[in-house]
Structures are given as C-alpha cells and as structure tokens.
C-alpha cells in the first residue's frame, strides 16, 4: 500500500514537473478534405501548424520554425510582426513565437505558401520544428508538386488577369434561390425568397422578449439556398469567410433580416441558437480546395421576427487574408400570408355551413312566428340605424383624427350596442337561428341602403353567424333556459371571446383582400378591447335589458 502511494506521488510529480506538448502540422491543408498530398503548380496553399500543451504550470513561450523548399514563399502580408522570414540560397525559413497558455491550450495558425514560377515538379518536403525550453519536436511533411489543372474557359481566355502579387480568387456569379443540391428550379422566379408567415409567433415572442420562435426550426430549414460560384485561377487553397447581408436600396444601410446559425454550448443550453455577435447577417466559412471553379451551396437563414417583405439588395462579401470581394444582387423578400389565407379559408367554410343550414334559418322564422320575425327585423333596423349608419359616416370622420385607432371609439357601437341588441333579443327568443336572422337582415339592409354587397361583407357575416351560433349552442345557452347570474357572466365572457376571434378573422381577411398591413400588437389590442371587453360588457347589458324586456313581452 505504501509503495502504491509512493508510485502515485511520483507520477503526479512527474506530470507537474514535465508539461506535455504535441506538435501537429499539415501541408497541403484543406478545410474539407483529408489526405491530400498534391500541390498544384503556382498555387497558394496553407500550412497548418498546431501546438497542443497539457499541464503547463505557467504560460511558456514556444518557437515554431518552418523550412520551405526553394521557390515556396510564405505570404505574410499583414502578418509581418507575427512571422519572420529569412531567405537563404536553397530554402526559405519562416519563424514565429507563440505563448502557450497554462494548463491546457491549443495554439495554431495557417500560413499561406505560394509556389513561385519555375519550380521543378516532383516530390518536395517542408520541415516544421517546434521548441519550448527543453522540449522540441519536428515534422517532415512530404508532398508532390504537380502540373496545374485545366482552367475554366473564361480564366484561360484571360478575362481576368492574374496578378501574382495578390490573391486572385474572385466571385463569378450568385444564383438564388436554389435547392439544397444547388439546382435552380426554372419555375421559381429569380431573386425571390419566400418566407413563412409568423405574425402570431412574432407577437408572442415580442412580449416574451425572445427572438424567432424556434431557432432549431429556423436553422434546420433555411429560407433559401444560394449558389456561389468563385473563380480560383491560381488553384489556391484558402479558408474564406462568407457573409450575406440585406441592404436597404435607398440608404445603402444594412437592415435586419438575416441570421447566422450558432450553437449554444451544452453547458448553457442545448440546441440551436441565434449567434448574437453576428446580427443581421448570415456567415459561413468556405474553403478553396485548389479547384479553379469552386461552387458553394450556402443556406440563408431568415430572422422571421424582424424581416420585412420588400425589395432589397443582397450583399455578398467574401473575405480572407486581408482581401475582400463584394457582390450585390437585387432580392425580393415575399412573405407567405398563410394566416390570411387560413382566415379566408375558414370564412369560406362558414359560408358553406350557412348555406347548408339556411333551411334551419327559415324554420326558425316559423318557430318564432310573426311576432318574433318582426321583432328581429326591428332590432336589425335599430342595429343598422344605430351602428352601421354612424360607423359608416362618423367612422370615416374619426379616421381623420384617430386613424386606425378610431375603431376603439366606433367599437362602443360595434361592440357594446351590437351585443346589447343581440343578447336582449336572445333573452326574448332563446332559440337557434334568431341571431343568424338578425345578422342576415342587418347585412341585407346595409347592402340595400349603402350598396355594401361585397365578398368580404358576405364572408364576415357568415363568420359571425357560425362562430356565435356555435358558441351559444355548445355552451348550452339554448338548453339551459333558467340560467342564473353566474352562467350568464360566463356566457357574456364567452361571447366576448367569440367576438375577439371574429374580429381577428375579419381583420385577417381585410388584410388579405385589401393588401393592408396591421401590426400584430394592433390586432391583439383590437381583439382585446373591441372583442373581449366591449362585447362582454354589451352582452351583460343586453342580458339585463332582455330581462326587463321580458316583462314588456308579458304585458
């Protein structure tokens, strides 16, 4: 036992005293490819050097020395302080000093090596040496220096002149939208990106302070893919940064709309998350692998909460090694108005239901008799004269001063007075179909007197009939004839909720048919005040009025 403890102490002492280091080097280095050992004639390819250290008691300095064969030049433009280059007769030596962190660390760099003209083809070697205190290691990297690839037509024709002093890759073209395989669908319009409708989620997320609904959904299903074609006449191998941004056409400013996929660490939270550091842009790393005409299929991620539909310029920026290439293309962001479409679909279903049950409305007239029918007609006349007439004339006038918020004033008529009439009528004639009759007569009056015979008017009337009749029927209002206060409070609230839903469907229909915009918060405000609040109050007043009117009925 004592011997075992002694051995363990010895092992831990050795670990502390002798820090471990590991040298890793790759040439030619490719981001996406492994096991490549060929460098093409006159190309620029990076060498990758990585120093891993373990158990360092304190930060230590390490020297890395790369010895290149004759004709290979390190490109240190902008990095002169980092890499010192010494040229000798038959070799070039690049040296750098790194400070390795304490405990564990990985220190690495890419150094681009340019093959000069006139180098003999064949097998060559790069020697990488690293040294820190007593520790030293070296790697010999063998590669084949081979003849260059055939260049694409426009490169070989000399459309772009190769300047040996610079990096010579450039953007050839950008095509979008394409599918995930980079194929262009001829049926899809060029430069148009369709984004899904997230109005409801947008409002919820604004109130909760979140971003898009589900980042994993956003990042697993990019809004579009973009095909980026570069030209790389020197067959360089590089790692470049791709950046896509939306630019305002008038001001030239970057506007919100694109996001970069990021992943939160497992410690913080699992799953996808928007990268907060790179807002309003989609970024990615791309790798030139020596191919003279590389193609990249890149996903574009949309920030659904902040994007606006309309015309923009899509600015693509490719950068790397101090060089930056820009390309702009017009783009149209088109939103799918699926909620509006859903609302219109629902309204059409309501229309079919009303048509299907129209015989029941007629039966209702026989059930309530002449007295009931005339009462309904007179109530509809009051609704027309007291609601439709003033809201048509005064509503427009109020619009001048209050704009869209005039609805909150006219809502006193549309909500309170309307539901007062409905509820008091229902208290007098508590039978299915009475409410529908009143809506039909009111709609026709409005059509005959103001010419309001429009598809939207018909659909809105049908939505109101179906939703309210369904609410009354399924809540047991028609069967529970001896209802007391509590039940009626619940009924009034239910009618308020039903009216909020009707308001939502009608506003969505209006936005769809008349191509109007209303903010999500405005819809919510309208639903809450005009729908729930006014209609519930109106229903309660209607209940009270209806109870009094019953006495008049009995006279």
């Amino acid at each position: 036992m004592r011997i075992l403890l002694l051995v363990l102490l010895l092992v831990s002492y050795v670990q502390v005293a002798c820090a471990v280091m590991k040298l890793e080097a790759k040439y030619p280095y490719h981001l996406e490819k492994q096991g490549v050992h060929t460098v093409y004639e006159e190309s620029t390819v990076p060498i990758y050097v990585n120093l891993v250290n373990f158990d360092n008691a304190a930060p230590v300095e390490a020297t890395v020395k790369i010895t290149l064969p004759q004709g290979f030049e390190p490109l240190t433009e902008g990095n002169e302080e980092k890499w010192q280059v010494v040229r000798e007769q038959d070799k070039t030596i690049a040296t750098t000093k790194w400070l390795l962190p304490e405990d564990y660390g990985q220190t690495f760099d890419l150094l681009y090596l340019e093959a000069q003209e006139g180098i003999a083809l064949g097998e060559k070697q790069v020697l990488v040496e690293a040294q820190s205190g007593a520790w030293q290691d070296s790697k010999v990297l063998s590669f084949t220096y081979a003849a260059g690839q055939a260049a694409p037509e426009e490169v070989s024709k000399g459309k772009k002149k190769v300047d040996r002093k610079k990096f010579n890759w450039y953007i050839q073209s950008i095509t979008f939208p394409v599918d995930s395989l980079g194929l262009k669908d001829d049926r899809a319009e060029d430069g148009v990106i369709y984004v899904r409708d997230t109005s409801l989620e947008g409002f919820r997320n604004r109130m909760t302070g979140e971003g898009a609904t589900s980042w994993s959904s956003v990042f697993n299903h990019p809004a579009a893919h973009l095909l980026l074609e570069l030209r790389n006449p020197q067959s360089d191998v590089r790692v470049l940064k791709f950046k896509a941004e939306l630019v305002d056409k008038n001001t030239g400013e970057i506007v919100p709309g694109l996001r970069t996929a990021g992943k939160v660490s497992d410690d913080a939270e699992q799953g996808w998350h928007g990268n907060d550091e790179e807002k309003n842009e989609t970024t990615a790393l791309i790798s030139l692998d020596g191919n003279k005409a590389p193609r990249f299929i890149l996903p574009l991620y949309i920030d659904y909460l902040n994007i606006l539909e309309g015309e923009y310029n899509l600015r693509i920026t490719i950068s790397g090694n101090g060089q930056e290439k820009l390309h702009e293309a017009p783009v149209i962001i088109a939103k799918k108005h699926s909620i509006g479409l859903l609302a219109v679909g629902f309204a059409f279903v309501c229309l079919l239901i009303v048509l299907g049950f129209s015989y029941k409305i007629k039966n209702c007239i026989y059930r309530v008799g002449a007295k009931g029918a005339i009462t309904v007609a007179l109530f509809a006349a009051i609704a027309f004269g007291g609601i439709t007439l003033p809201t048509t004339i005064l509503g427009d006038l109020l619009h001048v001063f209050l704009g869209p918020f005039s609805g909150l004033i006219t809502g006193l008529l549309n909500g309170v007075l309307h539901y007062l009439l409905i509820m008091s009528l229902l208290m007098l004639f508590r039978t299915p179909g009475v409410l529908s009759l009143m809506f039909v007569v009111k709609f026709m009056l409005s059509g005959l007197m103001f010419g309001h015979f429009s598809p939207l008017g018909v659909l809105s009337c049908c939505v109101s009939i179906v939703v309210l009749e369904a609410t009354l029927y399924f809540s047991g209002f028609y069967t529970n004839t001896h209802s007391k206060g509590n039940f009626m409070v619940l009924m009034c609230f239910l009618l308020g909720l039903a009216d909020a839903f009707i308001t939502f469907v009608n506003l969505e229909q209006m936005m769809f048919f008349y191509r109007l915009y209303y903010a999500d918060w405005y819809l919510a405000l309208y639903m809450l005040i005009n729908g729930v609040l006014y209609s519930s109050i109106g229903s309660w007043l209607g209940y009270k009025t209806g109870m009094k009117l019953r006495q008049v009925m009995g006279e």
Binding site: R187, A188, Y194, R206, M207, L246, D248, N250, L308, E309, G310, E311, I333, I365, G369, A370, K371, A373, I374, T375, A377, L378, A380, A381, I382, F384, G385, D396, H399, V400, G403, P404, S406, L417, S424, V441, M444, L445, G447, L448, M449, F450, G451, H452, F453, P455, L456, F513, Y514, R515, L516, Y517, Y518, A519, W521, Y522, T545, K548, L549, E555
Partner: protein, 291 residues
Amino acid sequence: MSVRQLWEGTDASPWIQKLNGRTKLIVLFLFAILTITIDNPRSLFVLFTLTLLLHVAAGTSIYKWKVLAMLLLLGLWGSMFSQALFFAQSTRTPLFVLIAPDAGFLGTLTGGLYVYREGILYGAVQGLRSASMMSLGLLVCWTSDPRQLLQALIAWRLSPQIAFMLVTAIRFLPVLAAETGEVITALQLRSDSHSGRTAVIRHLPYIAKPLLARCLRRAQILALSVVSRGFFLANANRQSMVWDWREKFCCVTLSVLVAVIVSSKISYLLSEQGFYFGVLRQAYDWTKLYL
C-alpha cells in the same frame, strides 16, 4: 337637399334607373371581386375612374358629388393613415416617431410606432379598392329604390318571410329614428341635472331600453295585424321586372371576364408557389403586367 332625398334615386338619369335590380347587384358584386383581385395600381386607378365616369353618365347631382367626394376622401385618408403607421415593407422611411421602441411598456408592446413615408403612398393606392367599391355602391343606391333591389333578391328566391322582414325594417327606419328623438326629448325633460341636460350624448346610454320596449309593443301589434290578414306565411309575389336580354348578356359577359381574370390571377399566384404550367406563360405575363 335632405338626407332622405340624398338616398332617393329620383334625380338620376332614366337609363340607369330603368336597369334591373339584378343587373345592378351582379355588376356591384363582380366589380367588388375585380377590385380585390387586382394589384396593379394603374389598373386599380382605371377601375376607380370607371366608377366616377358611371356617376357622370348617371347624372349624379352636384350635392351628391360633394357627399361622394367627402366620403371618398375620408376613406382614402383613413387608409393612408393606417398604412403610414403599419407599413411593413422594405424600403420604408420614418417621417415621425410617435412611440420610440424604448419608451417603456408602449415601446415594448409596439416595437416602436412611426409614420412611414412609403406607407402613405401605399395606403392611397390600396385605398382605391374600398373607394371604388364605395363609389359604385353609392351609385347603385342613388339610382335605385330599395324595393327595386329587394325585388331582385326575391327573384333570386329570397325567402318571402326574410323579404317581409327586410321591408319591415326599411319601412320602420324613419319611425324608429323619430321614436329615438322622442325618447331623447323625454330623457332631457326628465333629467334632474342642471348642467348639460340638453346634451344628447349624456342620454345615449339610456335610450336602448325604452326604444326596444317600444319596438316590442310595435312588433306585437304588427304581428297581430299581419297574421290576421294571412300576410306572413303567404308566398311572395315573384312577378318582378322583366330582365332585358341585353342586360343579361352584359352580366354574363362581365361574369366570364371576371372569371378569366380571377383564374389568371390564381394561376399566377400558384406559379409563384411552384405550380407552374408552361402553356399559361402568356397568361402569367399578362397578369404580372396588368393585374
């Protein structure tokens, strides 16, 4: 000119007064479909101008023109106002900040409220839809007697009982208005307040109950009268105005035209979603240019 005269079609040109109610209602409905189908601002403007030309042809009086102009301008203003606030397209240029995004709860709720320059123009263009419909709707109302339109609905097999209810409602509209006046007068006289007792707005919440009670009593009397004479359950007289074949032809032609336009628009919208048919390419081009 009184409000009643305003809603009477007696001063319109004879040709439009003579038109069958069915023709007017069909044209009105098809026109409404056209306005919600078309997106092109120029085409929308052409439709709007067409309705104004129809007013000219119908001999709309100066007074009615003034009323029409006022209603159209107010409607357009409303559309411009709302779209200036809620315009959600790029590019948009804020002219004023009404609520800053960091202005407490309201800022958080609205995400900032601005008046956008592009929204004003957009609202004006989109407002042409409702303006066109309002203009044609008023033309139909100002050139038709409600009975003419009601006859058209009865000719389309509208239930005679619903037609009776409609007639009752129209007949009693002025009576109800007069009764409302009486109730307000009574409330003013009974008011124990010394200040503002004559203000109508003060008595509005108390109008409903007496007015509805009077309605009920009137309904009881009317019902007795109607039932005793056997009016209510009798079938309506469906002998309506003769529908001229030329009007029928115009309605059929317009229906076909609207059906073609709507189909073209729907096929174009479907093509944007991937349902593209090569044979319809010319229709797509036409739709994109004019619709």
